[in-house]
Structures are given as structure tokens and as C-alpha cells.
Symmetry: C2
Subunit: 350 residues, 2 copies
């Protein structure tokens, strides 16, 4: 019984990552899956290039550092996306054993061009991509683009509770995984790939989450449908934000989270506080270097048209209280019209 | 809200381990918690003593080996328990930075004397104990005995789904954790203890499992009540097994699993197969060196008196089919009388 469940989950995840390789399912958060990728690709002393596109790019570098890699940071301005040409130049100076990138950097809302990154990396280096927030939300074509190792998690596009991490190992990356010299046991991907070939798990499996994952992969519909749903919501958020005279922060906005720049007169933390306390709605202020610079509104998973309209009704009331005047009805109208133009909300699952 | 949940969970786990130290809650299986203990205690090249009491003792050594420790195995015959005197002699030869032990070795059903092990270890070395199967099932007095680091998991005595691992760091072990030189990030206990002090988690928390854990810790009743419930079931299993002319395998049987030795005339794998296919009941054959030598019957978590009686009714029918004659009614009668003598089944929770 459970073997059939595991088999179904592996098939669904391979479709989602678009790989003919194998996908390891770990009982861990997304960060655990990131560490598994590092431990199986990097050996102490290896030179690696890490694209610092925001908080999660930074996390790649921290983990590589913990494993003794020599980290060469490729800096990206907050909200900007990585320039594949610049990455290519950096790699020409030679020697990087691996390159670490983030597809959708939720800390800034920016979507990096992983196809371009993969072309710049070519065959000289192992490309490892954090696709945690982009899987099922944006096109991700692991084998087609030439990504060697990619990680995901249960709680983003799949809208499951957290507790499962995924590491996809592309067909060409298996040899690299076999030969890593870092200490690894629980995160030893060889154990998962060997057990997975017989639809088993190397350690006690988190059975409830895996059963839910099988169901979620079915309910997602095709990956294209899931991407289209998220893209539609994202267009509505963007229309609403711009109609209220706010500017999008990232150079290339994503379908998972809408991030707007905080104008000088707006008290962003007050905005977040009032929305939560008086309206029961959660959006997020920027963190670290982006504190008071951005506001982030996530729209992953089960969000209805009504949820979006209700949020913008609240924003129209609360923004003026926090210093940013809004002409009543403009934001909500823009949201409503965008949703209507994009056709009926599609429904999946039961 | 979630902070209150985390705080409640930490309090409950400290009671369960009986420690004034701190308990890290990880999104991982029990093996992940074991690896976290190793990564935070052992540095490459450290000499360590590992008590090989069965499959899980072996696992300690494998993880220590993966982290580059010099493993000195203390061998224990299958089904026997470790002799604290022998451990003391081994440690007198000096130098072990840490000692790794398993409290309840479910592969053989034997319960090791951790109080004795802790006395033998004394203050010269860090004692790390796998209490995964014994927490809430047998007395475990971490601080009282002098255990430095102990690990647990959600799916045993707490009867939750798998997916959470626990690492308890005793008051005296904190310095050791601070100074480990092994690569660690996701399993870096310093992150969990620092975040935990503010009732937060360092990485995305598996919220559904943590909410269930809070409830399970409440429903457990006192640890003494939980131990008494498991001890009562265990007495009934043992009475039933002996009444059917089978011998207990472990030198010191545990409350979590009843393991009997397979007589030469009994086909153990056939027994397990028929019980599962014809009766829908799951018991387990031995693995590895214990294949065809033992049969293991687990009784952790939510098991009713009726469940136990039904299992022995089935065993009385199936054992003769597999070569071991049983006088009808003897096993069931012994089980029923033992349960009756031990008084009413206690009920907890709603």
C-alpha cells in the first residue's frame, strides 16, 4: 500500500520538476533539503559561486560555508535579478565546482532567469537551484534548462503543511552525488535514491504528509494549470498595487508574492500591524536590509478571488491611516477587472 | 498563537525527558535527530565508544563514522544488554570523547540499563542516548542519571505520525554543543536552542505536527501513567507468549515490544505473512543477523485490551499452521487474566 503511495509521489514530483532524474523526499523543512543538496555536491575546500539575490541566496552561501566550501559571492542588488552574462564572466575565471542560485527569491519577490543561468554555467560546473517557492508557480524545466540539482518543499505551490523537502537529482548529476566527500547520513541522497528505486524510504517516512502530498500532486492539475492560476492572481495583485500609486519593487516580479516599494511617507510596519490586528489579514514587512523598504503579499496555494478583493478593500482603508492616500475604490476596481478579464477562476480537486 | 504552542511543547518535552536543559524540535525522522546529536557532539577524529546493542546501536556508529569519528565498538550479544562494568573498563583505557548508547533496542527488544551506563561514563565523557522508543514507555531520568544528550521522535510512545525528532541537551552539555567542529546548519542545535529561548523555530516549522504534539503531550497524562499503561500491556504479551510455550528473546524485555525466540520447528516468516494477509495484523520478523531467530510484536501507543486479545486469538490459530502446536485457549486465557489482574484499562484524553 505505502509503496504504491511512494511510487505515485515520485512520479508526480518528477513531472513537477520536469526531470528524468530522481527526486528524494526528505522529512525536513526546505532548508534541510538545501543542506542535503550542499552535503551531496560540495566537499570541504571546493570553490563555489553563490548568487546572493536575497535572504535565500545568502542561505545557500551560509550552508556552503558550514561545509567548508570556498564561497565566491556574486552580488545582486536587492530586487534586481542575476545577469547571466556577469555570471558567465565570473565562471570564466575558472575553477568553480558548483554554482548555487535561487529561482524565486521571496525576500525581494524577484524571479531569476534560471534558463539563462544554466546556459552561463554550461557543463563545467554543477548548477544547484532553490526552486522551493517557484515549483508549480512558474515554469521550471529542470532537464530542459540543464539544472543539475534542484530543491523544493511541501508548503509552497503545493499548499501542504511544512515538513517535507524534495531534492531532485538530474540524470547527469548522479555521479557528483556519489563522490561527495562531505559528512552525510540522514541527508545522504544515495540512500534515498537507492531506496526510492524500490519505492521505499531509507528512514521512517512521515506517512501522513506523504499521503497528503500524493493527493496534492493530483489536485494541482497539470503544472501548466497551476502556473496559470498563480499568474492570474499575480496580475490582479499587481494591478491593484499600481492603481493605488505604489510601485512594484522587483525588476522581474513573480507569481508567488507581490512586493511593493515603500514610499517615504508610508509607515510599513504600522500597515502590517493594523491589517493583522484589525482585519485578521497577514502580509509581511521587509526583513534585514529591506526593513522599511518593501511590503510583501504572498499568494501561493488556496487563495480565492474573494480573498484578493477583501485584502484590497482593507488596504484601501488602512493605507491612508498609515500616511499613503488612496482614492477609494481604485485598487479594488483594478483587481476586480483584472480577475474578470482573466476569466473564471478554475477549480481543482473535490 | 504559535509561540504559545511552541512554549507548551517545550515544557512538555522537558518533563518527558526529565531535564532542566533544553529540547530542540526538528522537522526530521528519529534518525535525523540522531545525526543532529552526532554533528553537535563529535568533531572529525574524535575517539568515541559506541555500544553495538543491535540495529540502532549500529546506526549510532555509522553516523559517527560518517562524521569522521574513530569508532571503538563495544559489542553486545543480540538480545543481551550492555554490562556497565565492561563499559567502565573500556573507558578506563581513556580518551573517549563521547559514548553512544541505545536505551530500548527495538531490534532485539532489550532494555539497556542507562542509569548504570551513565555511572560508568561519569564526567569524563559525553553520554548520548537514543531514547526514541523508550520515552513515555520506560522511566527515563535524563538529569538524574547524568545523560548529556538524548534523542526522541514523535511516532513511538507519543503515538503521533512520524516527522518530528527531538534532541534534549542537558544543562552540562551546552558547552560541548557550542564547540563542535563538524559541518552543521539545518542540524545546528545552537540555532534551535537560541530560537527556542524565544519560543520560535529557526526554520519553517512543521506546524500541523507541532500542534498534534502539544495535544499528545497533554493526553499522555503523567509520564508515570503512560509508563504504567505500557508496562501492563507488556506483561499481558509476555504471559501470552510464555503460555504458548515460546521463550522471550531479550535478557531484559521492554514495555514497547515483545520479542520471542523462534524455535527451530517454527516458520517465522510464514507466521508474519499469514497474520498480515489473512488476519490484517502486523507483527515483524527479525532482520539482519536476527532473521528467522526472533519475532517482534510492538505495543506502543493506542492499543486496547481487545486488540491484544484478538492478536492472541489469531496467534493460537496461525502458530500451529506454521509448525508450532498450541493448546487452544491457553494463550488467550493467560493474556486475559493478566490484563484483568492489572485492573481496568485507563483512559486519557477525550
Amino acid at each position: 500500500m505505502f509503496r504504491r503511495e511512494i511510487s505515485r509521489v515520485h512520479r508526480g514530483l518528477k513531472n513537477l520538476f520536469r526531470t528524468d532524474g530522481e527526486v528524494a523526499v526528505l522529512a525536513s523543512s526546505g532548508t534541510g533539503a538545501m543542506e542535503a543538496a550542499v552535503a551531496n555536491v560540495v566537499t570541504r575546500g571546493d570553490p563555489v559561486v553563490v548568487i546572493r539575490s536575497g535572504k535565500y541566496g545568502e542561505r545557500w552561501g551560509e550552508i556552503c560555508g558550514a561545509y567548508g566550501a570556498k564561497v565566491d559571492w556574486l552580488e545582486v542588488e536587492p530586487g534586481a535579478v542575476v545577469d547571466p552574462g556577469e555570471l558567465g564572466d565570473r565562471l570564466d575565471s575558472g575553477g568553480a565546482k558548483a554554482v548555487f542560485a535561487v529561482h524565486l527569491e521571496t525576500s525581494t519577490g524577484a524571479l531569476n532567469d534560471i534558463a539563462g543561468v544554466a546556459r552561463a554555467v554550461g557543463d563545467c560546473s554543477t548548477l544547484v537551484v532553490d526552486a522551493i517557492s517557484s515549483l508549480g508557480v512558474h515554469e521550471f524545466d529542470m532537464d530542459g534548462w540543464g539544472v543539475d540539482v534542484a530543491v523544493g518543499a511541501s508548503q509552497k505551490g503545493l499548499a501542504l503543511p511544512p515538513g517535507l523537502g524534495f531534492v531532485a537529482v538530474g540524470p547527469g548529476a548522479r555521479a557528483r552525488v556519489e563522490s561527495s566527500g562531505s559528512p552525510r547520513y540522514y541527508f545522504d541522497l544515495r540512500k534515498y535514491l537507492t531506496a526510492g528505486a524500490e519505492n521505499q524510504t531509507p528512514f521512517t517516512a512521515p506517512v501522513t504528509l506523504i499521503a497528503a502530498l500524493g493527493r496534492a500532486l493530483e489536485n494541482l492539475g497539470t503544472t501548466d494549470e497551476s502556473i496559470a492560476r498563480h499568474a492570474r492572481l499575480s496580475r490582479a495583485f499587481r494591478a491593484g498595487v499600481e492603481a493605488m500609486n505604489l510601485e512594484m519593487f522587483p525588476a522581474v516580479p513573480s507569481n508567488a508574492v507581490t512586493v511593493f516599494a515603500v514610499p517615504e511617507h508610508l509607515d510599513a510596519e504600522e500597515l502590517v500591524r493594523i491589517l493583522e490586528e484589525d482585519w485578521g489579514m497577514r502580509i509581511a514587512a521587509g526583513q534585514g536590509a529591506l526593513r522599511n523598504r518593501v511590503v510583501r503579499m504572498g499568494h501561493l496555494g488556496h487563495i480565492s478571488d474573494e480573498d484578493v478583493v477583501a485584502l484590497f478593500e482593507a488596504l484601501e482603508k488602512v493605507l491612508p491611516q498609515c500616511g499613503h492616500p488612496v482614492e477609494p475604490g481604485r485598487g479594488v476596481r483594478a483587481v476586480g477587472m483584472t480577475l474578470a478579464r482573466s476569466g473564471e477562476e478554475s477549480h481543482h480537486g473535490s
